[in-house]
């Protein structure tokens, strides 16, 4: 299975029926495709909707219905739409049960960096969008990212890029492992089949402890 699909499938297991969830762009968006049987989410989209449905087929699209990625979308029965002030009231006010976000880097202090790639001194792209608000407001923060980039581990002692949120990450899901993060530190709770704890240590810059209940990656 491709890494991105694996991560999305694993992250999907974190979600419970009826939860209000905001999914970031990229891998997180794919999480919706792998929800366990009986789990229906209330998807919140920061551009102003609750209860998004699937992408419409050509002919069923509506010019005034799109998601936070600018893609045409449908609404499910029971949906609500609102302006951005209301949308971020929901996000900041603690009404989003969980958010799943991608990350450029994540660290053992629960910091996440995903808004700022430097393109020149003091110049960063693409910007934080709604991510900083989600990190400040969502009750549970799940970060999905590939374990390593070409240059090394993305799971660090300390993020090197400008961070998006400080000490906010609850769970890290990579294609190799799952870590819980708390003020006490990072704990390895799952590893994929055929990989050892030592293997994880070898590819992870961050310090972590290993859970008593360490088990196989749940997909």
């Amino acid at each position: 299975m491709e890494a991105r699909e694996l991560i999305a499938r694993r992250a999907a297991k974190e979600l419970r029926d009826g939860q209000v969830v905001n999914l970031g762009i990229g891998i997180p968006t794919a999480v919706a495709n792998y929800l366990p049987e009986g789990v229906e989410l209330i998807l919140q989209s920061e551009n102003g909707a609750l209860m998004f449905g699937p992408t419409p087929r050509l002919g069923a699209q509506d010019p005034d219905f799109a998601n936070a990625g600018g893609q045409p979308i449908t609404l499910l029965p029971g949906a609500a739409v609102f302006d951005l002030a209301a949308s971020f009231g929901i996000i900041r006010g603690g009404f989003v049960d969980a958010t799943i976000l991608g990350g450029l880097e994540v660290d053992q202090e629960g910091n996440i960096a995903n808004w700022a790639r430097p393109i020149a001194p003091g110049k960063y792209t693409p910007g934080m969008g709604g991510a900083m608000d989600l990190l400040a407001g969502a009750r549970r923060v799940i970060v999905t990212l590939q374990h390593s980039s070409k240059t090394g581990s993305k799971v660090l002692k300390k993020c090197t890029l400008p961070i998006t949120g400080a000490g906010v990450v609850d769970l890290i899901v990579t294609e190799k492992a799952v870590f819980e993060v708390s003020p006490a530190g990072m704990v390895l709770i799952e590893i994929v089949d055929g990989v050892t704890v030592d293997d994880i240590r070898a590819i992870t810059e961050a310090d972590f402890t290993v859970s008593d209940q360490l088990c196989a990656y749940q997909v």
Binding site: S45, F65, P72, L84, F88, T125, P126, A136, I163
Partner: protein
């Protein structure tokens, strides 16, 4: 009012809010008219940048080199904007999206500022006052206003009452409150009284001019074309 008349006040160096979110709920006709008029050195306040598939909404303002500064939460969907910025031709100032909305709301609703935890511990803190309330830290975020706002509604009447449709309200209602002069572009101009009081998304007292934008049919075609071109519809 026609769009040309509504545009007369726009000058080089103006600060302009543009409603919409990645092109959805964006005042497409007004943006094209801004390009046509060729006003320069604009400070554009937009919650995000142009639609990622390009050749749509505010991208044309970069093509015509009309933008001096962009105030936004996200710039990454518009390569030409990034190129001009990398080259030092334009500036970008970032605010977290929810913070930016509250800053505009504060400007429009007469608040001196709001306290938010968003951005704590990040670069967003720079230059901002921090307050501790009951042991929790917050950033003080100040109002963000503009001289002009161009917003997009579904229907509008002579009083300036605007009705929104679907998920296209987004930044439009708050921008209407935060600018000195708000121009609303709508798909249809209707008689006063047609928009029922409960369906008024932006009351007319916030709107200085209502102009005819794309008809609803043209509006449908514009987005269908864009989405098909971007391979977002199968």
């Amino acid at each position: 009012m026609d769009l040309d008349a509504a545009m007369e006040k726009i000058h080089d160096g103006a600060t302009i809010m543009l409603g919409g979110f990645l092109g959805v709920g964006s005042p497409l006709r007004a943006i094209d008219k801004l390009a046509e008029r060729g006003v320069k050195d604009l400070t554009i306040i937009s919650i995000v940048n142009a639609h990622p598939a390009g050749n749509f909404d505010m991208e044309i303002l970069y093509r015509h080199k009309q933008v001096k500064k962009l105030i936004t939460s996200h710039s990454g969907t518009c390569q030409i904007a990034l190129d001009q910025w990398a080259a030092g031709e334009t500036e970008i100032e970032y605010f977290p999206m929810g913070t930016m909305v509250e800053k505009m709301r504060a400007a429009g609703s007469g608040l001196g500022g709001v306290l938010t935890a968003t951005g704590l511990g990040t670069l967003v803190e720079e230059g901002k006052r921090k307050l501790t309330i009951e042991g929790k830290e917050y950033l003080l975020e100040l109002p963000l206003k503009a001289e002009f706002a161009f917003i997009k509604g579904y229907r509008g009447d002579r009083f300036g009452n605007i009705q929104y449709r679907g998920v296209s309200a987004n930044s439009n209602p708050v921008m209407a409150t935060a600018a000195d002069y708000t121009v609303a572009e709508v798909n249809e101009i209707v008689e006063v009284g047609v928009i029922t009081p409960e369906c008024v998304g932006t009351p007319g007292i916030f709107v200085q001019a209502v102009v005819q934008g794309n008809t609803f049919e043209e509006h449908q075609r514009a987005y269908t074309d864009q989405w098909v071109r971007a391979k977002l519809l199968k």
